[in-house]
Amino acid sequence: MKPTDIRQPNYFHKVVDCQWACPAHTPVPEYIRMIAAGRYGDAYMVNWQSNVFPGILGRTCDRPCEPACRRGRVEENNGDKPEPVAICRLKRVAGDLKEDIRERLPKPARQKNGKRIACIGAGPAALTVARDLLPLGYHIVIYDGDARAGGMIRTQIPRFRLPESVIDEEVGYVLNLGAEFRAGTRVDSMKSVLAENFDAIFVGTGAPRGRDLDVSGRKEAAANIHIGIDWLSSVSFGHVDKIGKRVIVLGGGNTAMDCCRSSRRLGGDDVKVIVRSGFDEMKASPWEKEDAQHEGIPIINFHVPKAFTHENGKLTGVTFEVVEAKYDDKGKRSLVSSGTPDVHVPCDDVLVAIGQENSFPWIERDAGIDFDKWGMPVVNKETMQTSLPKVFFGGDAAFGPKNIIWAVAHGHEAAISIDKFCQSEDVAVRPPPMMNLLSQKMGIHEWSYDNAITGDLRYKVPLKDVSIALKNIRVEVELGFDAKLGYKEAQRCLNCDVQTVFNTAQCIECDACVDICPMDCITFTADGEEVELRARLTAPALNLSQDLYVATGLKTGRIMAKDEDVCLHCGLCAERCPTGAWDMQKSLIHMTHAGSNRPRPQFEKMPEAAE
């Protein structure tokens, strides 16, 4: 097999499963160690650098990092229930317990570079663009139809999951960099924005239209049928403060979960989620389903809504066809009638949360931006650029509904592109990430990270008592980890960024590392092709998504093959190595953001601290 080139930043980046899985590539183990050390402000800044909204994401993120977390894999067959590190909720710990970090944030640029950028929409994607570009001296104009910035973060996420103060704080950090926020200014013509001669325009308008359910009775009973995201934002702004006693929520995504839990707090005693698909195929995150069930909300699956029933113009209930899942020989699922009679569920109100759509009525189709046959703009997946070179898209507006962390990732990429575009550089040439490798050795058996592996299982986040939580929609349900629990949970992190680095020239092939490795990751064996090699390692390497670290050039002609899959990063291989052929080195991967390839203008003069 070809020896591994560990100088490629992506090799070790991939070993850090959480960071690799995070769209914004947040250096997770780095900030978790800081939390364990009580350096909450530092942990917050590491996050802020990567994902802009640590406090918000620490409560609402879709957490692609957690299913990827190595801890979940190594706990398999080692106890009752394997679970990843509670990465998302640790992020919140950094946000909750940090000291005042305002001094550490970038200052508004002292020197403007003369370029003017418009951001349409003030959601997470646009705010990320603004955050990345403002310190470089760009003048950023942010338009939003609402009075306050935040976009869907503010309008769609209920307060019991995300307090307004957190939004104000983190949105504020961005606006305070000197953005010009044109609040309450809904853009209804792209051409008019183009006419203002901005150097570039970023569109981050989200997926603002909730899908409707056009079945019989929809019009007649309209007064009690609400579109989920619209209803949520009305609740958020305080326009709606009650709902009927019996509520049906249609849909199985996270919006449906927010709708049903909000209903429980606004007078709904008998709230049900009724979904077409099976429970397991629902789009909602498992923990959001759990939270809903915890609040006494049943989730009824395999029910397809057929009609709204009504009497005298008032909604009386919904009729459902009961279906079951059938799979064809290709494994494709279809829902077919189960043959049992239709079910009528009486109710007072229905919330329709069956999906969101993009909607660009305000972009004139002759403005120069290409749209595809589904009405979506044609956006370059890497540069976020459209056919009109000065217009860039990001967030849900670019490729349909995703989540906040993806919007942030898009924002970073778009900011790089806009910066390059405004500096007349080639937008297609993307800056590579930077990687530092630094030995963690402090002494013979001393490392600068905690290499002892705890056997603790995942800690649960304490919740507010349900009876109190359900009384007030503004009471946050999750209390978050306190410092003590946060420390314990942080210690479950395996420090996957502290890499096992092998130096062939020093190896005497004594087998000490092979013998000590608790997970049987290391093998010295004859060379072979990857497929065949994987099968004959000390522990066969069956997880093909995880790389083999291969080193050649040993005296006996054998190779060293290490399966990265379930390595605990405990450093015992390095401790037992008599020659230092193994070393534990921290790989700190810095994603390159806009302008990080050149000195920032505000630092061309002496920074403030030195004056």
């Binding site: 056997g455 087998d511 000490a512 608790p518 005296k555 379930v566 015992l572 401790e575 037992r576 020659t579």
Partner: protein, 351 residues
Amino acid sequence: MTYLAKPKLHHPNLPLNKLGFTRRYYEGAISTLCAGCGHDSISAAIIQACFELDLPPHRIAKLSGIGCSSKTPTYFLGNSHGFNTVHGRMPSVLTGANLANRELIYLGVSGDGDSASIGLGQFAHVMRRGVNMTYIVENNGVYGLTKGQFSATSDRGSKSKRGAVNTDEAIDLVGLAMQLGATYIARSFSGDKQQLVPLIQGAILHQGAAFIDVISPCVAFNNHEGSTKSYDYVREHNEAVNFLDVIKFRDEITTEYAPGTLQEVEQHDGSVLRLRKLQDGYDPTDRIAAMNHLLESRAKHEISTGLLFVDGDPTDLHAAANTVDIPLNLLDDKALNPGSAALAKLNASLR
């Protein structure tokens, strides 16, 4: 050494043996030997061998003397019986234990100092008595605990770490074991578990005196140029005579072997030692030929490894002493004290 205990977590797909144990169950405390010590690899090989043989750990007794090697029983088979004896006296204690309870599996672990210097007499007698045991010498040719003096197995002409040349002749424990009547004799290298693990398994299944000399480099004091027990030297001069597969119960031979290259030795318990010959004409059942081969290869500065000699039908101390089948420690008062009538009868038979 390391300050950390080895994490309890194990590979998710770690196999179980017939007793439902993982290999990790056969481990002991974490080693306090120097990093890279060959002895740790031998411990790992013993763990692997016992796991694969499905041995119940509580039926194994591990005995050792004094020295780096004799510390190692702490680092494997944490659920077995152990006895750390006086320097060089492990063979006597093992003999006594074996006499008292013939049903345990005896594993004697010793080093070149413990067996070839202070305990040489003990070594000789335990071999000639044919005690049913596996006797492993972790042979590094150096007194590691006292900072690297030559031991009795250091080759004449080899150099110490500080450059002194050894002028004394080396004791070849394999040669001694051959002369003294051991019935299973092997040599191996700590850096070659593929060879070592089956040799340990064969020795454990062997119902007589089994001896394995394992060359085990001392990374701290005997792994330099001029040493004849360094990783590099042993790898360069290692000449395996055969490769052993231990089969607990005879099965079909499924792999094709060239004629004359496969030799099988059936042992008392029904297990089969299947030997792939690596050197033409080497017959490990011929003691005299084996001894000749040893002398020849030594003259050529080769280190002969593999199963060097085996007697498929050994006798042991209990057979010679004609003891009862029931372990002596299980005999009850009635059996041990049959009464005055039985004594009178015995006395009469001697008149």
